[in-house]
């Protein structure tokens, strides 16, 4: 007896341990495996469907062809970088030689003017979207606060917001293009016109959700908090700074997340038409190019656009968690 009891105890312990581990494995499998299965099923359906679609540019690409294009896009990028490095190296050698021959010669470095690679275009798109988005935020948040605080102003501005909100970027673009050409006239432009056109189009489209959410957030501040401010006789500016702004931060962030999503969608269309050298132009150029690889390359761009859009949203959420006092509103 005395020998068997501990054995039974031990095996019981083992069973409990096994049970716990099993639970853990099952629960983590559920959280990881189900999305994974979803993706796999999607890829299978995609490749099955792609095989049955014949286009003027050959068969529609499946996942494998798209994956291949990722590889070639990356190697093209590396080749271009090597070329660029070689170009600058040649210049340096040449300049050194000329200086050695003629000490009064002042060496000049000419910039490399090769074609942008896919990675360069991603960077351009990100810079453009962030510039447009930040410009919109700088306008929308103060405007939203003013509208939220003042009912008369709200009544005056609301119809204008409601009318401009649903306007497609494609409708704004020609106007913006003409206006930028007319107004942005300099000898030595700091930034390309196409960049400014795309940026302003993004701003015009992603302004509205931020204005609306900010103003709703400001207008719906707990009246008790406003009373606290009144009892303390906080001056207007301090009232905004100490009460209004912090109280409406969760709503402002909701608006900013919506706006950033819209900004990213609008950007691709704007870049296509304005020929800003970003992802939109990449898609457009591949479409015009019409080689047998074009569809796979466009599909690769689509995947990248999707992933970047997702990451932008996550980034905004992280920023909200970091800045906002209301952690509960920053969970989704």
């Amino acid at each position: 007896m005395s020998n068997t009891t501990p054995l039974i105890e031990e095996s019981k312990d083992n069973i409990v341990w096994l049970d716990n581990t099993l639970d853990f494995v099952i629960s983590s499998a559920k959280t990881l495996a189900i999305p994974f299965v979803g993706i796999v099923v999607f890829l299978i359906l995609w490749s099955a469907a792609a095989q049955n679609v014949k286009t003027s540019l050959g068969q529609f690409p499946g996942p494998a062809q798209v994956w291949e294009q990722f590889g070639s896009l990356y190697s093209e990028h590396q080749t271009a970088r090597q070329k660029e490095a070689a170009f600058y190296e040649r210049q340096e050698v040449r300049n050194a030689k000329r200086v050695a021959d003629d000490p009064s010669y002042e060496p000049k470095i000419r910039a490399y003017t090769g074609k942008e690679t896919f990675l360069d275009q991603i960077v351009t798109s990100l810079v453009t979207v962030m510039s447009g988005f930040l410009l919109a935020a700088v306008i929308a948040i103060p405007l939203g606060i003013a509208i939220g605080l003042n009912k008369t102003l709200n009544a005056a501005v609301n119809p204008i917001i409601q009318i401009f909100k649903p306007v497609s970027p494609l409708a704004w673009l020609p106007l913006v293009t003409i206006l930028v050409s007319a107004l942005y006239v300099t000898e030595d432009p700091m930034v390309a016109k196409a960049f400014i056109v795309s940026m302003i189009t993004v701003t015009l489209c992603c302004l509205w959700p931020m204005v609306i959410n900010t103003s709703v957030g400001v207008a719906s501040i707990d009246s008790d908090l406003v009373n606290v401010s009144r009892v303390l006789r906080l001056p207007a500016l301090k009232h905004v700074q100490k009460i209004v702004l912090p109280a409406s931060i969760p709503m402002i962030f909701t608006g900013m997340r919506l706006s950033l999503g819209i900004a990213w969608m609008v950007l691709i269309a704007a870049e296509m038409l304005a020929q800003n050298p970003g992802l939109g132009k990449f898609v457009w150029d591949e479409f015009q190019n019409g080689s047998s690889n074009s569809l796979s390359r466009i599909m690769a761009a689509v995947v990248v656009i999707g992933i970047i859009g997702f990451l932008l949203d996550r980034g905004m959420l992280l920023l909200q968690r970091w800045l906002s006092w209301d952690k509960a509103s920053a969970t989704r």
Partner: protein, 304 residues
């Protein structure tokens, strides 16, 4: 003692879609320095409206309020308000909430060190030293209300206005808060107007109880002087015949003279409620018991 606050002939009329609604009619009250006055009445009788007029958050339609010889036209820190649901800024810690008030009121008179000391002193008064750097969502309801009181006290008001300050708290916490408030009152001897719907609370804390008639056009029905000696002890008072008598006076006013007839409730619902409260009047005082019966009252109202 000298009159510090004079509420004279106040009418309050709210314009509504169906025409004007008269909430208050001819309310007059004089309050002495250092006096603790409770306003009691059924819900909807305009107690809060009186307080809001004194605070300056509402403008009276007729009549006016004079504090220290000056007419009240707008809110100000000399009439600090403790709101029912604490109204702390949720993004600031307890200390920062009080600091906001202190900086605004004493920013030009006190040095930084003096302000820090003053904030900590007030948080100490309400026994919140241990949690002064916690944010409102990290502390309990009673603690939030303590910080709300500390914020109001830190403004060093001429008169402290409390709008059902303990109404949202559970019975034990409420009793605790009442004791704390008596202790603070003992030390600072502020002038206080407190709105309450709790009879025991009113009798325990007040120097005078102002009982309001039912609205619309509510006004002051009766004023009861509570001349119980201080400091008061809730356990000792429970057996005190004078206390029991004063308490039943308030109950008689509320449930006989100004019995509230609920529109939705019919005979069935209102009757047991009345019986229950008169039963309560004869029973000995205890914070828990009274809140139990008041919670069952609300349940009945809900059921109705």
């Amino acid at each position: 003692m000298s009159t510090i606050l004079d509420i004279s002939h106040i009418d309050m009329v709210f314009p509504t879609d169906k025409g004007d609604f008269t909430a208050l009619k001819d309310v007059s009250l004089k309050i002495d320095k250092g006096e603790f006055v409770s306003l009691i009445g059924h819900s909807g009788c305009g107690k809060s409206t009186v307080l809001n007029v004194v605070a300056g958050l509402y403008q009276a339609s007729r009549g006016g309020v004079v504090l220290n010889g000056k007419e009240v036209n707008e809110p100000g820190p000399e009439r600090a308000v403790v709101f029912q649901n604490h109204s702390l800024l949720p993004w600031l810690s307890a200390y920062q909430n009080v600091e906001l008030a202190v900086k605004q009121v004493f920013g030009k008179q006190k040095t930084k060190a003096e302000m820090k000391e003053w904030i900590e002193y007030n948080l100490h008064l309400v026994h919140m030293d241990h949690a002064m750097h916690k944010r409102p969502d990290e502390i309990s309801g009673g603690m939030k209300q303590r910080v709300g009181i500390a914020r109001a006290l830190a403004m060093q008001p001429d008169i402290l206005l409390m709008d059902e300050p303990f109404g949202a708290l559970d019975a034990l916490t409420r009793a605790h808060m009442q004791d704390s408030l008596m202790e603070i009152q003992n030390e600072l001897n502020n002038t206080v107007i407190m709105i309450t719907h709790d009879v025991d609370e009113a009798v325990l804390l007040s120097d005078r109880i102002v009982m309001m008639t039912n609205g619309p056009a509510a006004t002051i029905g009766e004023i009861l002087d509570i001349d119980l000696p201080r400091p008061r002890n809730r356990l000792a008072l429970a057996e005190d015949p004078k206390y029991v008598h004063l308490r039943s006076e308030v109950l008689t006013f509320l449930y006989e003279k100004q019995r509230k007839v609920e529109v939705i409730d019919t005979r069935k619902k209102t009757k047991p409620q009345f019986e229950k409260t008169s039963e309560k009047a004869s029973s000995a005082f205890s914070g828990i018991e009274s809140s139990e019966s008041s919670s069952s009252e609300t349940q009945q109202k809900k059921a109705g």
